[in-house]
Symmetry: C2
Subunit: 290 residues, 2 copies
Amino acid sequence: MQLIDGNAIAESVLAQVAAEVATIRGRKPAVAFVRVGEDPASISYVAKKQKTAAQVGMDSRLELFPESTTQAELLAKIAQLNADPNVDGILVQSPLPKHMDETKVFNNVHPDKDVDGFNTVNVGRLVQEDPGGFVACTPAGIVELIRRSGTETDGRHVVVVGRSLIVGKPVGLLLLQKGLPGNATVTFCHSRTRNLAAVAREADILIAAIGRPRFITADMVKEGATVIDVGINRIPDATKKSGYRIVGDVDFDAVAPRTARITPVPGGVGPMTVAMLMNNTLKAWKKKHA
Amino acid sequence: MQLIDGNAIAESVLAQVAAEVATIRGRKPAVAFVRVGEDPASISYVAKKQKTAAQVGMDSRLELFPESTTQAELLAKIAQLNADPNVDGILVQSPLPKHMDETKVFNNVHPDKDVDGFNTVNVGRLVQEDPGGFVACTPAGIVELIRRSGTETDGRHVVVVGRSLIVGKPVGLLLLQKGLPGNATVTFCHSRTRNLAAVAREADILIAAIGRPRFITADMVKEGATVIDVGINRIPDATKKSGYRIVGDVDFDAVAPRTARITPVPGGVGPMTVAMLMNNTLKAWKKKHA
């Protein structure tokens, strides 16, 4: 069993991005973060993304709004960032306050600056296999983990557990695409699936994105499979100062010995998300300078 | 074994559309067809669609262009139809001449008049499960066949053979959606799939959309499955005046006895496509009058 080291792979993606950014003369790629309210997780995510942007030599800025901001005010800022020639990528940090329509807000980010890949146009481009689109960072990161760990996809059976818009569907659609890494047979299963264990056991590559702690047990995994664990679940742990710890969607200790390769949680998919955001921002800069 | 009668189901869809159109006072739903060149199949398809529009009480018009038309001229006409308040739906008949970029042309049809469902925005809406989008007519028709033949999808395993943008991917995505008819476990397989027969045998509902005559043989079908045959393939037949006949992607004679339900070719999926186009046009009219 080989542990797929998400931290190391993310660092190598970031090193490639940094090397390419270093060759750019003049204005560097720039990403604008928009945060509404003071959600502690959002504060932490955006800070991490800004720090990583600086690490790879990109510019970033942060547009802060109070929780009480109206959707119209937020959309006005997005329109301004869309029009700003010095901004390549725009990321509106989720979750937004309940009085806003998140889909509508994301769809107001211009598709060519939509480094988060949530605009309906970019979702459509993914289905249409248009390489000019932006793919959401978590699914794009999963594909990089698969590729850089030497996992073959051609003709292999990928089973995605979970049909969410932000992970399950896009990652399956990516691996279904013509060309590599892709050309996989792809099965989507979910909470309504009958005999999920039998379906999951068919997987050469099993992607767990269902959001339930240690849901994938050893009997659901074929000997020699590659397992990608997208889950980030908090479970109570009295031995921790915080009172909890993070576990994935996979029962790691029982499953890992059966696998050819597996991602840990934390340190697997997680670090890839920020790395792919930087990759998308560089791509947005390139699209503008093509 | 029950034969799924696509002609009868299409007629019942059309009767419902006609009944609803009959209640509309004032301007009736209207669809504009755009045809470029004199491809015999295109002439025949558009004529059939216009006749069906008349049958359900809708207005239609035909915009004809010579093969030599420039893409700019075509796009100018589409812009005019987009702006025309008396046009609800626009259908640009495929194939376009080789000097045109079909994807670009389709993307110039306004998403809210895109009754063909080929605009990238409508493809994205399908993934995002936005009921306000337009779904391409063939996959939408397949789902109606499944629904109206009483075939259950909840938790059932759908295997789609073929990953095309116009049939395979959208029909699988529709049946994966939350709610009914949907909630299926969905597998996409294709020419690169290893051991396709074994994968196909898992299907409770097998959808053949691979474009190869009689590709699906009896050993690929589970006893009691429902089989939907999307194929329209010409094979030589000396007994026919035309010199050919149409067969599906399924080896019907060998497969049918094993199935619970199966669509014939012709008379299965084919008739549904035009019926769903009328349904989409009515939906476009309703969106405007909501």
